[in-house]
């Protein structure tokens, strides 16, 4: 029998849901402060799974904690786990991404941080060091904050080549390294930037989320601030795959855990109407890399549904069949145990959901 775990980061703390069948769940509030939890991570590479959570207190600032007992107790180091070096003149605002690294590097965990920076941990996510190469990129000074802040929200390590990695920043766009993080180059060719005049810029796009299937690492999918895209050459060129969607605006982009070419999005009406299209809760899935899309709405509210789904508030558990989860800004969490074909509400009345991550624990 499998054990399923869903970590739900909200604007007022972290909640842990567990299930043995993905039909009935128990949900508990984690004993962390009532802070904003913008990022959660579940590191299943360890003998004992490690949960990671970023917290942000409007009073006391940001931190990162970890739990080795599935969320019952949490630890953080005395010294700041994510700290901008003095020479940067900057201070950590928020941690937006907690991403366990490659299987071949079991102690490596990545942090995407605000203001736009990448950090690396070599001790399983306890303490982190700035990746200087990206911070020193001359274009970084021209990145501008999106509505949520200048966040580095996507970290995709190439599954087999330790020299390659993709990150994305709002608003800076997609950047890639092929030398282990020493140098970085923008990878935004073909992605629109409707919010600025002139020709398509080399960088500065407001990419909201990028997804990759580890079995097809040269095929990337991006949900942009206006535009949904695919790259088949590792990010050198992007093409629109928005046809067939009710809107090309949204935040999440989630790759199916087992089938390359299958991804999930949650369209919103647009930049100036950030509500679900037609006031219906609908996840859209493609099985053919964006050539066509299917609305997945069985069991989801189909009238009067207004809340948005944020960029990290949708995920999969990696199970078979894949479980798909999303949380709303109205504090509801919806679950599909059959790859999106049918849904039910796992929780309501939580604080607004900022992040979700799920895993199958054997």
């Amino acid at each position: 029998m499998s054990n399923y775990l869903l970590a739900i980061g909200t604007r007022k703390g972290l909640f842990i849901a567990t299930s043995q069948d993905r039909k009935t769940w128990s949900i508990e509030r984690a004993p962390l402060a009532s802070d904003e939890v913008y990022a959660v991570g579940i590191d299943t590479r360890r003998g004992t799974p490690r949960l990671l959570a970023s917290s942000f207190s409007n009073h006391w600032g940001p931190s990162v904690a970890h739990s080795d007992d599935l969320g019952k107790s949490w630890q953080e180091p005395e010294h700041a786990p994510v700290r901008y070096p003095e020479w940067t003149g900057s201070a950590l605002k928020r941690v937006w991404q907690l991403q366990p690294g490659r299987d071949s590097e079991p102690e490596v965990v990545w942090v995407g941080a605000e203001p736009g920076a990448l950090f690396r941990s070599d001790d399983g996510g306890v303490s982190f060091e700035l990746v200087d190469g990206l911070w020193n990129h001359p274009q970084r000074a021209k990145w501008t904050p999106g509505g949520g802040g200048l966040c580095l929200h996507t970290v995709l390590a190439h599954p087999t080549d330790p020299q390659r990695m993709t990150v994305a920043v709002s608003t800076g766009g997609v950047y890639q390294t092929t030398d282990g993080g020493t140098s970085w180059a923008p990878s935004n060719r073909g992605i629109r930037a409707d919010f600025r005049p002139g020709d398509e810029p080399e960088f500065g796009q407001c990419v909201h989320k990028v997804a990759m299937h580890p079995g097809a690492p040269d095929q990337l999918f991006a949900q942009n601030h206006g535009g949904v895209y695919r790259s088949d050459d590792g990010g050198r060129q992007w093409v629109s795959i928005a046809d067939g969607l009710p809107s090309d605006f949204g935040f999440p982009m989630v790759a199916h855990p087992h089938r390359p070419g299958s991804v999930y999005v949650f369209p919103l009406a647009g930049d100036f109407d950030r509500r679900p299209t037609q006031e219906r809760a609908r996840v859209y899935r493609t099985e053919d890399a964006g050539a066509s899309w299917q609305a997945l709405s069985s069991g989801l509210p189909q009238e009067g549904f207004h809340p948005a789904v944020l960029r990290d508030a949708m995920c999969t558990d990696g199970g078979t069949p894949a479980g798909i989860y999303f949380g709303t800004r109205s504090g509801a969490v919806f679950v599909s145990a059959d790859e999106g074909e049918s849904w039910y509400e796992l929780a309501r009345y939580l604080p607004d959901v900022l992040s979700v991550r799920a895993a199958v624990l054997d």
């Binding site: 402060a33 207190s57 009073h59 006391w60 600032g61 180091p77 010294h79 901008y84």
Partner: protein
């Protein structure tokens, strides 16, 4: 050696072993500044201190530090000198939602 007493807000007592007060030993001689006391706290109680200042040394926006009954933002900010016998009081500002 002289001492400055720091009053810890309830929300941060878990980072100082549950204590309400932390006594900081400061070098004898010149009167210490608020920044000097926080520097000493960053060594003895880093998880407490980093919730008062960020890594650039700036006082967090929604934290207030008082010397006696005076907010250091109304004085010389973190350069404010702490007179003999005065307490340093850390309090959360009105903030949030």
């Amino acid at each position: 050696m002289s001492q400055v007493t720091v009053r810890v807000p309830g929300a941060l007592r878990e980072f100082v072993g549950g204590e309400r007060l932390v006594v900081v030993d400061v070098p004898a001689g010149e009167l210490p500044s608020v920044a000097a006391v926080l520097d000493l706290l960053s060594g003895s109680h880093p998880a407490f201190e980093r919730r008062i200042r960020d890594e650039t040394g700036a006082l967090r926006e929604h934290v207030n530090v008082f010397v006696g009954s005076d907010n250091v933002r109304d004085l010389d900010r973190l350069s404010t000198v702490i007179p003999p016998g005065a307490e340093l009081i850390v309090l959360p500002a009105i903030s949030g939602g």
